[in-house]
């Protein structure tokens, strides 16, 4: 394992000799067994499931790590797995490395009655609007966010539009109160 780990530190290592994202997160999991609960690989993409409490540590570690270098947060998006599902919501963080050019998805599962996730705006400033959007459309609260307001819908909107139990169409026109 050690010799394999040393390979990518050489300068100008060919792409095929670098550690793939799945090898990276497996090594990462060995270092911090509580931080990643599961690693899924499908369609050439790697997903790491992280408990909500550890998301900030995981992100800053992945951003700063010499081999991981996930310095670019491409996207954050929420998803509703269904009204009966428990945990009901998931928050997906799509990471990218501008130097190593690999990608990784981090997934945080969130319960409906405790829909709180710590913010990662301290790690990447671009998380600001993504988290606001997720809050607006799913009602997931990002603790510690500097400016957690609705972003797409009006401030006095009732409900969260992308939840599965929110109707597709309404029967009354929206009017500002």
């Amino acid at each position: 394992m050690n010799s394999e780990k040393n390979l990518p530190e050489l300068p100008n290592t060919p792409v095929n000799q670098r550690l793939t994202p799945s090898q990276l997160v497996t090594a990462f999991q060995r270092e911090h067994p509580d931080w990643l609960t599961e690693i899924v690989e499908a369609h050439g993409e790697v997903t790491a499931i992280v408990p909500a409490g550890h998301i900030v540590e995981v992100c800053s570690e992945l951003k700063g790590g010499a081999e991981t270098k996930f310095d670019f947060l491409a996207d954050i998006c929420g998803a509703d797995r269904g009204v009966e599902e428990e945990p009901r919501f998931e928050v997906n963080y799509h990471l990218f490395s501008t130097t190593k050019h690999h990608r990784l998805r981090i997934k945080v599962l969130v319960n409906e009655d405790d829909a709180h996730v710590p913010t990662v705006t301290g790690v990447w400033r671009t998380a600001n609007w993504h988290e606001r959007e997720t809050f607006d459309l799913f009602g997931i609260v990002f603790d510690g966010h500097p400016d957690l307001r609705r972003i797409l819908l009006p401030d006095d909107w009732q409900g969260h539009a992308l939840r599965k139990d929110f109707p597709l169409r309404g029967y009354e026109p929206y009017s500002l109160k």
């Binding site: 799509h94 501008t98 050019h101 990447w124 797409l152």
Partner: protein, 405 residues
């Protein structure tokens, strides 16, 4: 004296005769905000203390709508997001679904996808150039740009039937093959286009007013640009050599020979130069794609997903059944989730598709490059003049349809 506004302490001016910090609303009808964007500007005289974008005026719940439409019906929704680059949106979405279905796309379809996307990139940059110059006060560029863009729209119309909403790329290939004589028309456009780019340079690049308005304005360093998630020409204007066509190639972009323009100045001028150079690179890619167009199928061999040809449908019973089932019931996509990024004209356009196994997606999310690029506007406009805001917005090349979705 304390201001009632919520202003960072470093900007509080105390010993001015009139304590003149003022909040004004720029937009949502302001023409240089390129749609319906409202900026809340806190001004100290002419200087911008704080700019807060207010978006959502065009929000139509497109991501919600995806969940109620079959996969193939979602393509027409993507057209309406970034309406200056609809083929790019089509491509990102269909490739994400194709990834879930694990479809193999024939070579001719891939070449045509590259050809059309690069034409669309030129068209998108032409609108940016025309409106950006118009905002800064150079009116005539606009007419030249729209003259060239019209030719591209005519080409897209010839191929797909739609000018702004083509929906030309379908899951598994293309709507149909290119019409006869299409290659000749593209060559005609190609022959005239490089001269037009030189015309744009003559009109703008040497113009001293334009240079003064753009150089040193809206500066964002490479580290900040990465931290703020900028992508596309905005990131390359800050000296970061990053293009998804290179780093994570799709539709065989790795086999094309082109340069990735990078500028080091980090300002509006650098982003201008990157896009101007990119148009020439797209021109090069279009020429290469034209050269390698060979006859062949344009749809994947997946009868349960791809609509059959008209002829086959009328002569073969099984083709008719498949056609009926795809239209009436849709096709099932295996459960899973993918995130597919492409290099759209404005930056990284990522599509997240999550399937629960039925004919409709469980969640579709678009990572719009305009959305993320706009979020860096407050950072770039601190300490700028009001007139510079217009230049900075123009250099970000935002499309509100994609920001608000």
């Amino acid at each position: 004296m304390s201001s009632t506004l919520n202003i960072p302490p470093q900007f509080e001016i105390v010993d001015r005769p009139l304590d003149t910090q003022m909040t004004i609303s720029m937009g949502p009808q302001h023409p240089s905000t390129h749609g319906v964007l409202r900026l809340e500007l806190v001004l100290d005289g002419e200087m911008v203390v704080k700019a807060t974008p207010d978006i959502g005026y065009l929000h139509t719940g497109m991501e919600k709508l995806f969940e109620y439409k079959k996969y193939q019906q979602g393509i027409v929704i993507t057209d309406r997001m970034d309406y200056l680059n609809p083929l790019g949106n089509n491509l990102a979405y269909v490739m994400a679904v194709e990834k879930l279905l694990e479809l193999q796309i024939p070579e001719r379809a891939q070449t045509i996808r590259v050809l059309m996307c690069e034409l669309q990139r030129i068209a998108s940059h032409l609108v940016w150039l025309g409106t950006h110059a118009l905002d800064i006060g150079a009116m005539s560029v606009f007419f030249y740009c729209f003259r060239e863009r019209e030719k591209i729209l005519n080409l897209i119309e010839a191929a797909s039937g739609g000018r702004l909403t083509p929906s030309y790329f379908r899951i598994g290939g293309l709507m149909m093959d290119l019409p006869s004589g299409f290659e000749r028309r593209v060559r005609q456009f190609q022959d005239a286009f490089l001269k037009s780019v030189d015309e744009f340079h003559t009109l703008l690049t040497g113009n001293r007013i334009f240079q003064n308005r753009t150089k040193g304005v809206g500066v964002i360093t490479a580290e900040d640009a990465i931290d703020w998630g900028l992508s596309g020409p905005c990131l390359r204007g800050s000296g970061v050599d990053l293009d998804i066509r290179r780093t994570n190639p799709y539709t065989s972009y790795e086999t094309y020979d082109f340069e990735v323009p990078v500028e080091q100045d980090c300002d509006v001028w650098a982003r201008y130069m990157v896009r101007m150079r990119e148009m020439k690179e797209s021109h090069k890619i279009v020429a290469q794609a034209l050269a390698r167009l060979k006859p062949g199928p344009v749809k994947a061999d997946a009868p349960k997903v791809v609509l059959p040809d008209r002829e086959a449908m009328k002569t073969h019973m099984d083709a008719l059944i498949h056609h009926f089932l795809i239209v009436a019931e849709g096709f099932d996509v295996p459960a899973g989730e993918v995130y597919h990024p492409i290099e759209a004209s404005k930056g990284e356009l990522g599509v997240y598709v999550k399937s629960d196994g039925g004919p409709k997606p469980s969640r579709v999310h678009f990572r719009g490059p305009s959305f993320v690029n706009l979020s860096a506007l407050p950072h770039m406009s601190e300490g700028a003049m009001v007139a510079d805001i217009v230049a900075i917005i123009g250099s970000l090349d935002i499309v509100l349809g994609e920001i608000d979705r």
